[in-house]
Assembly symmetry: C2
Homo-oligomer: 444 residues x 2
Amino acid sequence: MAAKEVLKFIDEKKFHEARAILEEMNPVDIASVFEELDGSETIKLFRILPKETAAEAFAYMAPEVQQNVIAALTDKELKVVLDTLFMDDTIDMIEEMPANVVKRVLQVSDGETRSTINMLLRYEEDSAGSIMTTEFVDLKKDMTVKEAFEHIRATGVDKETIYTCYVMDQNRVLEGVVTAKDLLLSDYGKHIGDIMEDHVIFARTSDDQEQIAELFRKYDLLSLPVVDNEQRLVGIITIDDAVDVIQEENTEDFEKMAAMSPSEDTYLKTPAYVHAKKRIGWLLILMVSATLTGGIISHYEEAFNAIPLLVSFIPMLMDTGGNCGSQSATLIIRGMALGEIRLRDFFRVVFKEFKVSLLVGAALAVLNIVWIFIRYHSFPIALTVGISLFCTVCISKAIGCMLPMAAKKVKLDPAIMASPLITTIVDACSIFVFFNVALALLKI
Amino acid sequence: MAAKEVLKFIDEKKFHEARAILEEMNPVDIASVFEELDGSETIKLFRILPKETAAEAFAYMAPEVQQNVIAALTDKELKVVLDTLFMDDTIDMIEEMPANVVKRVLQVSDGETRSTINMLLRYEEDSAGSIMTTEFVDLKKDMTVKEAFEHIRATGVDKETIYTCYVMDQNRVLEGVVTAKDLLLSDYGKHIGDIMEDHVIFARTSDDQEQIAELFRKYDLLSLPVVDNEQRLVGIITIDDAVDVIQEENTEDFEKMAAMSPSEDTYLKTPAYVHAKKRIGWLLILMVSATLTGGIISHYEEAFNAIPLLVSFIPMLMDTGGNCGSQSATLIIRGMALGEIRLRDFFRVVFKEFKVSLLVGAALAVLNIVWIFIRYHSFPIALTVGISLFCTVCISKAIGCMLPMAAKKVKLDPAIMASPLITTIVDACSIFVFFNVALALLKI
């Protein structure tokens, strides 16, 4: 609602009224107002915002909008924005900008910022180094609580978080952490060295962001220090970025499990040809594999020439097999992603899936036997379908649970062993079983 | 490593050495040591831990382990644990315990705790009320920063977070929030009313936890106040619980998208018959639907009696259709879950999927035509498969993107419109198209 009013006021050039509403709004919501504007309005709106708010909202804007804003800002204005941005947001922005914009951003930054940016840009994509920020509160062991408070008061406004403070020695080696809670609840005279926690959970710059997210989730962290090869503290990662990583990793798994290459951008922003490129690879592989299943069918031409009804059970067998396999695969892939299932649980998992197969397979088989017998009055055909279905369920659940674990064992991403690939493998198995049972039972 | 050493010392009854290692460990890791022990060892280990650590570790234990511990504790020991637990962890625990354990927990609690527990247990499952905690820092508008600090020092140790403090009037109506950062960076003499933020993002007790998680993600929150119908502040939700909700909701989507009812427990802890029950419902529905596809095939018996080779293309057409449909469905379902795709984007999405279909469909069709012509030297058959495949890709992508959005429109969960259901629908369409194209082109 508020956003619409702002847009109306801007349309009517009532900037004063627009500003009054914007001042009451959250920077995240202000950023989404920007998304609705065109180029020239963008900069007008940006300029009527208080500087601080403008810079905060900037961090939440989509890259295209950021680029519009940067293009319209004077160097002086740009410098103010850059000074207010946290380093991790600056890096996120720079990674999305074309070279000429990056050059301008580096030009208006001061020497120290420029070298920090250059250092952070060197870390590999999706590594801890690439998502960390360099603005943290650093304390020394021999400071008192009172001195720590003074230090925070003097420098805290520019820090991404002041709730976890990091204690380093003179070589910047990480020695411990103190939370703001510890500080607030301790006597002013105490020394940091005495109240700090010296068993610190930390990450290395090269660690994968997926592991980082897992640490946040497991230990309920608010921030995580990142150290280099010499144990020197070089940055921190905060929970808001970890939450983004969690969602990113989940999206990647969803995409891989539906046989697509993961994409960097949102659905609507990705052009159709990029979508097509990300999807066609797996479609091709799976299509060729499905052709093999077709080949198996051709092999049994005599059987379905003798009893054409057999062909009509193929979709039911294939689909049920595929569904059973993808149920198992999904549970195992998700369980491993959440750390609930480990490789050493292999036999427990296989045994459990076997028991589930027996229950599910038997129920579905009996239902089919009864139904087919009533419909077609042929017990041998009913039995053929029933037995084939039972075997299909058992095979597909076995493949569905074993393949993702096997993938993990050989250090592949288990998520690629999901529904589509398993469906294709299970299809071939179910057709093979079906026609062989048919040949044996129906004496074709 | 440390965990193994502890277990070894416990085995050897060297409790002193075990304690020394445990004292250096994180409560989360201590909790996982407990998972490896049997009943009698559990309580021995629990008793050698410092009280505070023991209670902290307790919050991270699996329900079975918690139950073991509670059974072995004296009433006095149990009271200490309960007093140290935060209210949301207490509620999580109580919800998993059998009635007799709950009764004992309520008996040893004091009157106020008991009535808070009873209030929290009344909120619906997965609502904001059911995941919130009641331990927050409450301030008044007319307090000075100095008084606020004194208040935090006096009461903060028992609060789940002291980093966001909540300002209420005399009727407990929420008026604003002040962060610890604001307090630390403000002059001691300032009044809370002057530094507080009065545009507060809040939730209602009945809000769904999925919306809550979305608020945390969107606004980068560390905690969120929860108010009742009279705008009175009744609790807060902290980011660590929101992270758990995010993972829970993602798991639920993964399960629904693989045609399973979501489960509450982890894979290994769920018994086989429960697994079977959660999977068989959808399998049955999908099996019956697939039988319809079989019926369509029967209808064209003459066609494949004339040209048996046609049957061998069925798996390839069905699988490719299913894969295309589930790619589209997954992207749309995920996009909607993350708020990147809204219902008003319907036509943009359909148009984009149409463009993708043209690209992907044409590429796959041409490949098939060439390959089938080379393999079987029949251009009419090659063309039949090619045209059918092209139509299948277009139909499946259209269904794959429209069904999830339609589900959302009628307030169903889009995740149920995923791969398995779409595969089944697409199967029927692709078989229908295939045989009709065959009849028309091959003059059977």
